[in-house]
């Protein structure tokens, strides 16, 4: 008898080969048979009319904190994602000395828009080293985690506050190399760094004080393990992005490591720039370098209210300053003061086209309820005012809890995004899962890929889309025994309905520690999600078994892991 059998499904095995009908049997955590299975299973799942695919892998997330209170990384797992990569953009939660905890919380709050209160009430700080952090998140882990080490954090560990001021000495880089080795030994999948991010004081993050020699020496350690280097380049400029990918390519060739940069957005005004970046990517791949651009599937939508800072306003210094550094009372006072209000309105004219199309998405008062769903242009017309003034007035009336949606802000050219997504040298990712939780939902990008680009637009066949987010991702990141439905592979499997799969509507829920809110989307059309041979989520029963692993280390040394526990 097998432990679990998925019967009558259509197997899309991750290889890109045509789908076929078969049963799939699991014993323990492994796939042991694909074909006609006559024997019975302790548990059986009927997958008639459903796709049976490898579990999806999300290579760009920031679930570092959420994993401390939620081993399922909800709702990512319910969308069919069985492996996540946290620790991107130079930020991870380890290695981290106690004295730097609040510094890192500040950076997560600024860059990834994670609420301070979630850290205060959801995190028990009982680790310092990377190994201790891994040990900590392993408890109740239901989703597989391939964690990156953040370069900014590594610098803080070795250099303290000097990490935010200067280049490292030779001795300090040598120590960073040793600490990075320890992290990789403890299960890290690679190193992340950033060339753009700012900390909570709006000063460059520590990784930006590293010179090229430091990055080179850290890459040499990655080379000892063949592990990934992820960067955030100056993605707003093609020449800068090309310079960075050239830098990555040299490191990739010198140390035989994979590298990836994210994000790469395509907008109406930068199509030529994206073409130039992709031409350079092609050239570097032809040299034998691995420089994977990450492209997200969803268009950019940003929600905001004035009770929390939003990166949407980073281009408006007056607005951003008061959102970022002002108290609730100070923001209300600023909006109420005619002179300060006038100054803000003047600054808002820099991008006059933005405000009329903002949509009021949520209010608390009954009086404004009829306005929900209307644009600021419509509301302004009703009130005989301007869109910006309507936004300020509504915010005051709702005690800063009026929520607005800036929809379709970019990355929304279906033809161009579709052709990028199917490009053989593009890595589908950059979801930012677990971050920006008060700005947009980072969940459901895979459902959107299948619903929009496979089913509706037919930009790529189902088999190719599955391959891109399973086998390709596992190969790019060096994650063995996953990403394909093959006998002997670990049974990470997503069963879904190809007609129904999609992302649900974005909704605002209160499920973050500290009574916090976030935007999420429910999965549509996902039937069952299996991690390491056990049902971790099903449409019928919700969340289930927790058999998540730390990748890539643990999957190749299970005996060592069991001994350690």
């Amino acid at each position: 008898m097998y432990d679990l059998i998925v019967r009558n499904g259509t197997i899309v095995d991750g290889s890109g080969m045509p789908a076929y009908r078969a049963d799939l049997a699991i014993a323990g955590d492994r796939i042991v048979k694909i074909g006609r299975v006559e024997e019975a299973g302790a548990t059986e799942i009927d997958a008639e009319d459903k796709i049976v695919a490898p579990g999806f892998i999300d290579p760009h997330t920031h679930f570092d904190a959420q994993l401390l209170w939620d081993g399922y990384a909800k709702p990512a797992l319910s969308h069919g994602v069985t492996t996540i990569v946290p620790g991107n953009c130079s930020l991870s939660l380890a290695p981290l000395k106690a004295k730097h905890r609040m510094k890192l919380v500040g950076m997560f709050n600024q860059i990834e828009e994670m609420p301070l209160k979630a850290f205060e009430e959801g995190v028990v700080w009982d680790w310092e080293t990377f190994a201790e952090y891994i040990q900590r998140i392993r408890k109740g882990l239901a989703i597989n985690v391939a964690p990156l080490v953040g370069h900014s954090v590594l610098r803080l560990w070795v250099m303290g506050d000097d990490a935010m001021e200067r280049t490292a000495t030779d001795a300090e880089v040598t120590e960073m190399q040793a600490v990075l080795r320890e992290c990789l030994e403890a299960g890290a999948v690679g190193l992340s760094t950033s060339y753009v991010d700012m900390d909570e004081r709006l000063q460059p993050v520590p990784s930006r004080f590293a010179d090229a020699a430091e990055v080179d020496r850290l890459a040499s350690v990655l080379g000892e393990y063949g592990r990934m280097l992820q960067i955030v380049p100056e993605f707003y400029d093609a020449d800068l992005t090309i310079a960075r990918l050239d830098q990555l390519a040299e490191l990739s060739l010198k140390y035989a490591i994979p590298t990836t940069f994210s994000p790469l957005f395509v907008n109406a005004d930068n199509i030529g720039a994206v073409d130039r970046v992709m031409a350079r990517v092609d050239e570097q791949f032809l040299r034998g370098a691995r420089v994977w651009p990450q492209v997200q599937t969803r268009p950019i939508d940003i929600s905001f209210c004035f009770s929390v800072p939003s990166l949407l306003f980073i281009r408006f210094p007056g607005w951003y300053r008061i959102m970022r550094f002002g108290t609730h009372e100070e923001i209300v006072a600023t909006f109420s003061d005619p002179n300060q209000r006038e100054t803000l309105i003047r600054e808002a004219k820099l991008y006059e086209g933005l405000w009329p199309r903002l949509i009021l998405r949520q209010v608390t008062s009954q009086a404004n309820q009829p306005l929900v769903g209307k644009t600021l242009a419509e509301i302004a017309a009703l009130r005989g005012t301007t869109p910006v003034e309507a936004m300020i007035d509504l915010s005051l009336e709702e005690d800063l809890e009026a929520h607005f949606l800036a929809g379709d802000m970019g990355h929304n050219d279906d033809d161009k995004v579709g052709s990028l997504l199917r490009h053989p040298r593009v890595h589908i990712g950059a979801s930012d899962g677990g971050a920006h939780i008060l700005s947009f939902s980072t969940y459901g990008d895979t459902g959107y890929l299948f619903a929009h680009f496979v089913r509706d637009l037919q930009s790529m066949p189902m088999e190719e889309a599955v391959k891109k987010i399973t086998a390709d991702t596992a190969a790019i990141w060096g994650i063995p025994e996953r990403g394909r439905l093959e006998i002997g592979h670990v049974a990470d499997i997503t069963v879904f309905d190809p007609v129904q799969i999609d992302r649900g509507v974005e909704k605002f829920v209160q499920d973050v520690p500290g009574d916090g809110h976030r935007y999420v989307r429910d999965p549509l059309g996902i039937e069952t999600v299996i991690v390491s041979g056990a049902v971790a989520w099903s449409h019928e029963h919700g969340y289930g078994d927790a058999r998540g692993q730390i990748l890539p280390g643990e999957c190749v040394q299970p005996a060592d892991r069991i001994a350690a526990e």
């Binding site: 001021e165 460059p204 090229a212 400029d237 050239e283 032809l286 040299r287 034998g288």
Partner: protein, 80 residues
């Protein structure tokens, strides 16, 4: 494989220890008077030039260049 020829892209450098506008100008644009060279560099590198300066107490005070910056040493190339 690695012998493939790369097309020419906009020329840039990565800063050396202690670099500022003047030191880069002297090294990369030696044929120009220093003031002109600095001015050119700044105009080609607005991503650095427009950056808010470091605090007065900082060792970097007055120098916006970070050790990790890409510095262009020529103007943007015309579109092909």
């Amino acid at each position: 494989m690695s012998s493939s020829v790369l097309s020419v892209v906009r020329k840039s450098i990565l800063p050396r220890q202690g670099d500022n506008w003047a030191s880069i100008a002297k090294r990369e644009l030696a044929e120009l008077p220093e003031a002109d060279a600095v001015s050119q560099l700044q105009s080609w590198n607005l991503h650095v030039f427009m950056r808010a300066p470091a605090d007065k107490g900082s060792a970097r005070a007055g120098n916006p260049i970070l050790p990790s910056d890409v510095i262009f040493v020529e103007p943007p190339r015309p579109a092909e």
